[in-house]
Amino acid sequence: MGSYVLNRALHGVLLAFAVSVFTFALLELAPGTYFDDLKANPNISPETITLLKARYGLEQSLPLRYERWLKSAVRGDFGLSLAYNTPVAPLLLPRAKNTVVLTGLATLLAWMIAIPLGIWSSVGRSSWRGHMVETATSGLLVIPEMILALACLWIAVRTHALPVGGMTSTRFAEFNWWAKIKDLTSHLVVPVAVLAIGMLPVLMRHVRSSMAEVLSSQFIHAARAHGIPSRWVLMLYALPVAANPLISLLGFSLAGLLSASMLVEVVMGWPGIGPLLLEAILARDVYVVISAVMLSSVLVIFANLVADLLLYAADPRIRGGVS
């Protein structure tokens, strides 16, 4: 157990390191910099810009800058924001928390719908159930997240049933705790729904195909032949076997989910990493961008690690095989 966890964790750390080197090199080597706009401004003298560059250490060589950034990241600052003139971490971390809340709830909701519905439709695959679910999922699959988000927003704005935009009402600070929870929940509904609906078709397909594969195998027929009730067969025999590919999907789907979340955050004004990143990109605030990209990939790496560990717990073959 210990060596497996260590192995996977080490792999994750190395991967995160590689990602950081890659992102850093890519963005630092790109031609545009924060100072392009300043140079065009006639009120700012070239000497000031040189001074600023020296202050942020932007005239050092690439490896040196990387080393500085890495040290700062280890300290927990993640470099300096050029536009805000503060460390990146206080800007980024509260935003990251909001993104995690949004994507976490969406993931939970999507799986809670996808698993029962996927099982239900895999049982009667050739009957009307299968067809109905198939049609619904392929219908949802072809609607891009962007359009889905706009459509949900349209419904919410037109019906006035739910608040749109932002995470809290303007008078949030005055509310008592119960009103706060209610307010937050009502703001969460639309973005979470969009993300969950966006994830559903892909999850459903995986649940259904992996269940269907298990259900056609020999041991299920044997279990049925022994007269074990069909519900037990489904839940106790088939589901644990079908769960394996789904657990790895749980880790991998986060990369796509974060991208979808970015779009939803921008459209709905959710104060997550997305709007911050977009703003930082437009201002070419390089360390904010690098840190935001880095943080999101660390989240993905972490989710993969969790999935690996879950898989380890769920699958005796992995426990026996890989050291």
């Binding site: 890659f22 392929s138 706009l150 990109i281």
Partner: protein
């Protein structure tokens, strides 16, 4: 059988949509950049066949518009018949043939807006078609690019193995954990922003194509790995066949099924990537239209709630995506 019918419908509608978009300049009545500052957010023009006196006209006609707050009203004293094959603004048919003939139009000073106008009074239909050219072309070229890179890396990793395999797969892993939209935005954001439309389009395509090579590369590597162990490949090598010959004759043909399905899926993914970039203001630059930057104005709530015709690009986009997904699905499943 049902699947096959669906496949047929998908292929025909894909061909139809692509044809319409290819001939966009001819079908669209105006140039995509022409603004009518007098007519922001005009609803789709009504086409009449019966005039105010109740007389029926074989040739459909429209009325001019006048703005009286809060809406546009039709001025029904003057009729403007719809004319077909009318001379109008210059355009390039299918991108290279200079022409001036448009499928339909009306005489000046009236304007016909079949899908309404945007905030600058630009005809939505005249933007939708060239916008489709941009979005779909971006998808097709970027897919070709990333499949090309994926094929190269996948074959090198799978066939030559060892160190090259290790390097390529580790690199692919880095690309797989980076959320693609973050990476795309970051890379695009740090490229020069103030460049011409053609150059910015090329930048968008190459960024999208370069970011997405990892998945096809991994899939192709897997196929190459099993393919090179087949007996006839080993036999060919025993007869002294060169690597190039084996790759071309025995291995490449085996990857074609995966390449084809991946390509159809990637076209939609990358068209969508282009739309997303443009939607967020980092894609092709105005006034060049794309389905993404046409939808972008819907981020303002008053546009979202009041002007439903601004959703227009969503429908061809969904149709095209459905078509490509259905084709990819049918390619994946073994047909009886």
């Amino acid at each position: 059988m049902k699947k096959l019918n669906q496949f047929r419908v998908a292929v025909y509608s894909l061909i139809a949509v692509h044809l319409v978009i290819l001939l966009g300049g001819f079908i669209a009545p105006y140039d995509y950049a022409i603004q009518n500052r007098k007519y922001p957010f005009v609803a789709p023009t009504r086409i009449h066949v019966i005039d105010g006196l109740g007389h029926f006209h074989i040739r459909p006609f429209i009325y001019g518009l006048r703005y009286r707050s809060p809406e546009y009203i039709e001025e029904d004293e003057q009729m403007y018949p719809i004319r077909f094959l009318i001379r109008g603004s210059a355009y390039k048919l299918a991108g290279f043939l200079p022409a001036r003939i448009h499928l339909f139009g009306v005489d000046e000073p009236a304007r016909i807006f079949l899908l309404g106008t945007d905030e600058y009074g630009r005809d939505q239909l005249s933007r939708l078609l060239p916008g489709g050219q941009i979005s779909l072309l971006a998808g097709l070229i970027a897919a070709a690019l990333s499949i090309g890179i994926g094929l190269l890396f996948g074959i090198v990793a799978g066939y030559y193995g060892r160190l090259s395999d290790e390097i390529v797969m580790r690199l692919a892993e880095v690309f797989m954990v980076l959320p693609w939209l973050y990476l795309l935005l970051a890379v695009k954001g740090f490229l020069p922003l103030n460049v011409g439309p053609a150059k910015s389009f090329l930048l968008v395509i190459s960024v999208i194509g370069l970011v997405g090579w990892a998945r096809p590369a991994r899939l192709i590597r897997g196929i190459v790995l099993t393919a090179k162990e087949r007996n006839y490949v080993i036999a060919a090598r025993g007869f002294g066949a060169s690597d190039i010959y084996i790759l071309r004759r025995h291995i490449l043909p085996q990857t074609m099924a995966v390449v084809l399905t991946q390509a159809t899926l990637l076209v939609t993914t990358y068209s969508l990537s282009e739309m997303t970039l443009s939607f967020l203001g980092l894609g092709v630059s105005e006034p060049v239209p794309s389905w993404g930057n046409m939808l972008a104005s819907l981020q303002q709530y008053h546009v979202l709630t009041s002007y439903w015709w601004m959703f227009a690009p969503a429908f061809p986009a969904i149709l095209v995506f459905w078509g490509y997904y259905t084709v990819a699905n049918t390619l994946q499943e073994p047909t009886p």
